[in-house]
């Protein structure tokens, strides 16, 4: 879409764009190209000579057990978060859509976790499940289940998944509720007159009409689990125990800043960029046109 009426001025548009473009060049394009460049180089152990090695760093990266583990952990983590956050939000949204009075009150009571920072969400759940003073850990012990996420990898993963899901439910709930309220009442009434019960109405009418919203949210949730959960991992498990929650974004940070492995971190950055670009393309190609609010 283009404007018919435009202004003419030889310099003004460039001036207006200058701040945005300058920041993009300095803080986005330049660092990204640096990462790309470094990912193709290799330094000798003394840092004296760098040689151009093409894809060697990538082959190297994908043959490290550490990195493959991190890939697997990230996959398990993001799929669990997406599935849990989507299904529980959808379930709550269906309930909220069903009540005539108070749907908006429930919305208010359910949306605020969106405003809680991931790191804070991590701290909240960490405190509940702290092996020595957490109340939830205490209850589990009373039930005969020994909880210690600092030693048990599975428990650590469960904890970060729960914290990440808790924060994301509100976002999904909001979009599901909006999607459901946009479905014409007449459709549902017609089905009810034909004798379809609430469960049948949901699966044959509401859910199919919500698929675009669901698909859009699925992409958003996976992107969230991939990139926005750094704070949760950092505050709850620091990637541990023994790499059980070492998601890709955390590994990039750890290898670059704590282990000072510059080349490895750059190569990982490039892989991550590729993943983001893939997600963005999916989002624009398949989601953009199909989502209705």
């Amino acid at each position: 879409m283009e404007k018919r009426v435009v202004f003419r001025n030889p310099v003004l548009p460039y001036l207006l764009l200058a701040p945005q473009i300058a920041i993009t060049l300095i803080f986005f394009i330049w660092p990204a190209s640096q990462a790309l460049y470094q990912s193709l180089l290799q330094q000798d152990p003394f840092g004296l000579r760098t040689t151009f090695v093409w894809a060697d760093n990538f082959i190297d990266l994908f043959s490290q057990a550490d990195y493959l583990n991190s890939l697997q952990v990230t996959t398990v983590f993001s799929i669990s978060v997406a599935v849990l956050a989507l299904s529980s939000a959808l379930y709550l949204a269906v309930q909220a859509d069903r009540v005539l009075k108070g749907a908006m009150a429930y919305r208010t009571l359910l949306i605020w976790p969106y405003a809680v920072a991931p790191v804070v969400a991590g701290v909240l759940w960490l405190f509940l499940f702290n092996p020595t003073l957490g109340i939830a850990a205490y209850w589990l012990r009373e039930l005969g289940y020994d909880w210690n996420h600092t030693l048990n990898g599975g428990q650590a993963m469960t904890l970060v998944v729960v914290a990440a899901t808790w924060k994301q439910i509100s976002y999904n709930f909001l979009f599901f509720l909006a999607g459901m309220q946009a479905i014409p009442r007449s459709l549902i009434e017609a089905a009810a007159i034909d004798g379809a019960g609430p469960v049948r109405r949901f699966w044959t009418i509401v859910f199919p009409l919500l698929t675009p919203t669901t698909f859009f949210l699925l992409v958003i949730n996976i992107v969230y689990a991939f990139f926005d959960t750094f704070g949760i991992i950092h505050s709850v498990t620091e990637g541990g125990p023994a790499g059980a929650t070492n998601i890709l974004v955390y590994k990039v940070f750890r290898d670059g800043f704590l282990n000072l492995d510059l080349g490895g971190s750059a190569t990982q950055s490039v892989v991550l960029m590729t993943i983001v670009i893939a997600f963005t393309v999916i989002q624009f190609r398949y989601v953009e046109r199909k989502v209705h609010y």
């Binding site: 404007k3 202004f7 701040p19 660092p31 405190f127 909001l174 990039v252």
Partner: protein, 281 residues
């Protein structure tokens, strides 16, 4: 209500209330913990009803902070506020003028500029950590407000949103302004800005939360305790380890870290929802 069944209605409310309670439970425990003295929290199980140290803990946190961290939480909140406002205003300002240029002018490299901005959408800080850190270090912006704010204010989403808004503005308005002799800046200031007022407000709500909740970036570039944001402060307090952790102060700080963004979302719910839906378009 279609095909109303009374027992189903009650069940629905029960499920929703349960959902609300489960979602709120971690906050409740945190709130309770922030109202006790440390000794009470070290007992098993920890208390589940509020204690009497609420005021003391919050005053201690705000004015003194935890022993492990040298800065009081009051200062950290101020830093978070500066960062959140800086990012929100910065993003809105540079995005709205960029969108104005792209929509209302024809010039060389227009599409190049458009794509260049689009690329920022694909490169969150998380994926280019180290090189971006190096740029900021080379510019001497470590441990400054500028370093906290400026690298984060480029925004593809905000630019796109304003572009969408401007595209829906009727051409007649620009025509009329031109006939009346108004230049582009005058038109921008007197027509476009007032028209986009609610969009700006909605975007502001989203960006304020985004800025307040920034974590990785301040973690990388601030080592000076007087520049810590409140989220970094919490991390540093936790880093003291289980033995020394002053949980009552940490929990009070956690409550304080949540308060501003949660208040913004709840009190400006309509704008918040609008902003959320529009920036995702």
């Amino acid at each position: 209500m279609v095909g109303a069944r009374p027992w189903l209605n009650i069940l629905t409310h029960v499920i929703l209330i349960l959902g609300v309670l489960i979602v709120a439970f971690p906050i409740y425990v945190t709130f309770v913990a922030s109202s006790h003295e440390l000794e009470a929290l070290l007992q098993t199980p920890i208390p589940l009803v509020p204690g009497g140290e609420l005021l003391n803990n919050y005053t201690a946190a705000l004015t003194k902070g935890a022993k492990a961290v040298g800065a009081p939480v009051g200062v950290m909140m101020l830093n978070s506020l500066v960062m959140a406002l800086g990012i929100a205003f910065g993003k809105i300002a540079i995005s709205i003028i960029a969108a104005f240029a792209i929509v209302y002018f024809r010039f060389r490299f227009r599409m190049t500029a458009f794509w260049m901005i689009f690329i920022t959408l694909m490169l969150p800080v998380e994926v280019r950590i180290l090189p971006t850190y190096k740029v900021v270090a080379d510019l001497g912006m470590l441990d400054t407000y500028g370093g906290l704010i400026i690298p984060l204010i480029a925004s593809a989403t905000a630019t796109f949103m304003f572009r969408q808004v401007f595209l829906t503005v009727p051409d007649e308005l620009a025509e009329a302004a031109r006939i009346d002799g108004a230049g582009p800046l005058r038109f921008f200031w007197d027509v476009l800005l007032p028209i986009s007022r609610t969009n700006i407000a909605a975007l502001f709500v989203i960006l304020f939360i985004y800025g307040w909740n920034q974590y990785l970036w301040p973690l990388l570039i601030t080592t000076d305790e007087s520049l810590y944001t409140i989220l970094i402060g919490i991390n540093r307090m936790l880093a003291a380890g289980d033995d020394q952790a002053e949980w009552q102060i940490i929990m009070a700080t956690t409550m304080l870290a949540m308060l501003p963004p949660v208040l913004v979302v709840v009190s400006m719910q309509r704008l918040f929802v609008k902003g959320l839906v529009e920036t995702e378009k």
